[in-house]
Every structure is written in C-alpha cells, then in structure tokens.
C-alpha cells in the first residue's frame, strides 16, 4: 500500500507534466508550500520535464509568422509600466534596421488589425485618394500616398498610419525588381532632420510589398524610397528618391 506522501510525490510529477486531474494542481501547490522533500523532488523533476521540448527537432516556421507576431506586438506597444534597464519608458521605439515586419499581400493569417489596415488601404486605393487623410470607423487612421517618377514612374504606395497604435502600414505596387545586388530602402524624413532608415526590402514578383512599421508617423514630413546597395542598404540615402510622398 502506498503512503499518502508517495501518492503526493506522484501527483508532483503529474503536475510538472501538466497531466494531473482537474483540481489536482491546486492541491499540489498547497502541498509544496509545506513539504520540503516534495519541493526538492519538484525541483529535480522539473529539470527533466523542462528538457522534454528540447528533444524536438527544430522546424522553420513560415516567414509570415514572425511578421504576424511583431505586428500584433507593435499594435499593443507600449505595454510596460516598469522602467527598463535598457530603454527608458519615455524613449521612442527604435525602428528596426531591416523591415522585420514585412508581410506578403494576401497572407491568409493576418492579425485583425492588419486585416483592417489592408481593407482600409483597399478602400483608399479604390477611392483614388492621393495625399489625403481619412478616418476609419473605430480606428483613427491617416492615409497618405507615395508616387513614383523617373525609373519608378509606374510605382506607387499607399500608407496608413494607425494613430495611437504605433503601427503604420505601407503597401507598394508596381515596383520593378531592384537591380542585381541592390535593394529598395524606405526612409522617414522628419522636418529639418536627417532621413531615418526604416528598412530595406525587395518587392514580390508582382511588384507588390506590404511593410508594417512598428511606429506612427508623428514628426515625419516625407516618406521616400531609394535604391541602395544590398543586402543591408545605406545609413543615409545615396540618391534622389524616385518614389516619395508628403505626409503633411
């Protein structure tokens, strides 16, 4: 006959594996607070349980998953109330050097905010909005457009700044492939200040691309695109932009 304590030790293992019966976890937690030997057992077995997922062969997730997660997080940021040793709570979020938040148009798994954003973009494009502002129901959004010239004559982009969410979407269309070894680079240009690199990208085969920026466009007066040396792009534009638009 097993003792009551031995039964509890088995329950500790079940707790660590998440395999206990309904309600058992609370019993185990309560027991652990008053039983040193079971706490030791839990500490030992938890190391073994924590190793279980590490036996799985890694599998590359679809590229869109990273974009989805970061776009969703951007829509929630800032969430922290505690000051950070790395970044003061009052400091603005820095743009990633690369467009970590890039999504292929038509992805079936957009987060709701991004889906709404794409719908808004579609409305804006269909309505022939140029450099203009519009406010969508429930979501305060400012719309802008970028227009191409020169070698990018046929290119354009629609921009939606979701005010208050820290998220901006830029949808490009009609972009030719960048020359070999080159990439497109997006710039945010504040009033009277140097351009801010907002990431490099290459268009899809159909000339489209959607970028999700984890910031709003406050303080930015112009958005522009140049062709720069790949894969990292430049720290400052090396040519006059042939695709740009005013955000005023």
């Amino acid at each position: 006959m097993r003792s009551e304590h031995e039964v509890m030790e088995d329950a500790v293992a079940a707790y660590l594996l998440g395999a206990g019966e309904p309600g058992e976890a609370e019993t185990v937690r309560a027991h652990l607070t008053g039983c040193a030997s079971c706490r030791e057992l839990a500490a030992r077995l938890s190391r073994a349980a924590a190793a279980l997922p590490l036996a799985v062969e890694e599998a590359a997730p679809p590229g869109r998953l990273r974009e989805r997660i970061l776009a969703a997080a951007s829509a929630e940021a800032p969430h922290a109330s505690a000051p950070s040793p790395h970044l003061p709570a009052s400091a603005p979020l820095r743009l990633p050097r690369r467009p970590a938040l890039v999504n292929k148009r038509g992805s079936e798994r957009w987060l709701p905010l991004a889906a709404a954003a794409v719908a808004l973009l579609a409305v804006g494009v269909a309505g022939g909005i140029g450099v203009s502002r519009a406010t969508a129901p429930n979501v305060a959004a400012a719309h802008y457009s970028l227009n191409g010239s020169g070698s990018l004559q046929g290119a354009a982009a629609s921009v939606v700044d979701f005010r208050g969410t820290g998220t901006t979407l830029v949808e490009f269309r009609g972009l030719p492939a960048a020359p070999a070894g080159k990439v497109y680079e997006l710039w945010l240009i504040p009033n009277g200040a140097k351009p801010i690199a907002a990431g490099v990208f290459s268009p899809d085969a159909d000339g489209s691309k959607v970028l999700v920026l984890p910031r709003d466009l406050g303080g930015i007066s112009v958005m522009a695109v140049t062709v720069e040396q790949g894969p990292a792009g430049a720290t400052q534009p090396t040519q006059q932009p042939e695709l740009s638009g005013s955000l005023a």
Binding site: G20, E21, P53
Partner: protein
Amino acid sequence: MSARDLRELSDPDLASALASGEVAALGELYDRYGSLAFAVAVRVVGDAGRAEDVVQEAFLKVWRSAARFDAQRGSLRGWLLACVRNRAIDSLRGRGAHEQAELELQPELVATGSGSDPWREVSRSLERSAIQEALSSLPAEQRQAIELAYYGGYTYSEIAEMSRVPLSTVKGRARLALEKLHSYLVGRGMVSDAV
C-alpha cells in the same frame, strides 16, 4: 538598442528588454526560439497552420507578461516553451492551460541561454542529441507515459485507460521516467544537481 546589441544579450537581459516594450526584443526572442517553439507546437497539434496560431499566442503571452519574469525562478526559454505547450494542448483538447505553473519551475539547462549565434546552434544541437538519447534509453512504457502526458495533453487517467493499465502504474512510470531523465542530465552535466 540595435539588433546587434540585442543579439548579444543573455536571455534574462532580453527579458528585461521585452519588459521595456521594445518590439525588436521580441523579434530577437523569435529569432532565438521561434523554430523550436514552432516545432513543439507542430508536435503537439500536428498541424502547421494551427501551430502558427499557438506560437503567436505564446510569444504574445511572453511579450505581455515579460515584466513578471524572474530569472531567479526559471528560464526565459523554459517559460516560452511552457506557454507554447500549454496553448497547444488548449488548442488540441480544449483544456485550460496551467498558467500559474508557467512562470514556476522552468529551469534552464546548463549549456544554453547565452553566447553568439553559432555557439547557440552548436550547443542546441548537442543538447537535443543528448536529450533524445536520454529519452530513447528509457523503457518504452515509461517514455510513452511522459510523451502522452506532455505532448498529448492526456491526464494520467486517460493514459491509463488508453494503455489498459492501472492508474497507479501510469503514475509510477511517469515519475520514474522523469527521475531517470534527471539523473541522465545530471550525469551529462546538463543540469545542476543542487536544489
């Protein structure tokens, strides 16, 4: 903080950056553990599309709750993987996850958690091989008990029913399996024996 700076951070420091609301830190966490998280989710739910949703939920859970993370109580990787596993089980079986346990008892193995990308890759590969070897050294019924519990989300009662053995037998097998696995990992210097 630049992407390069983030890459150099230890996991506890990365958790602090997450807690500060730095979106790029979440990208770095994903770059470190996204493939592992996705693999665990696929292993549990058996479907890549569903696994994507599970992984997204888990990363966002860590993102939202990073301020609660305490490196003294567990590892960032362990916490993330516990979130993945629990949400995968929820998705698979409609069972409530064990959130309270997610931030508890998630120890880190000795060999991982910091260092440059190449080191992480090599270290993780060695670690995976060792754990696979440890699992394969267990008697089949013990291994099955912990795998059904961890990856299948089955309770001991359900495993007993499926395996047609008494409940007490399943409990004993699972505990023994974890004890042996722990001893193996200690023997390899992968976990500390200290409590």
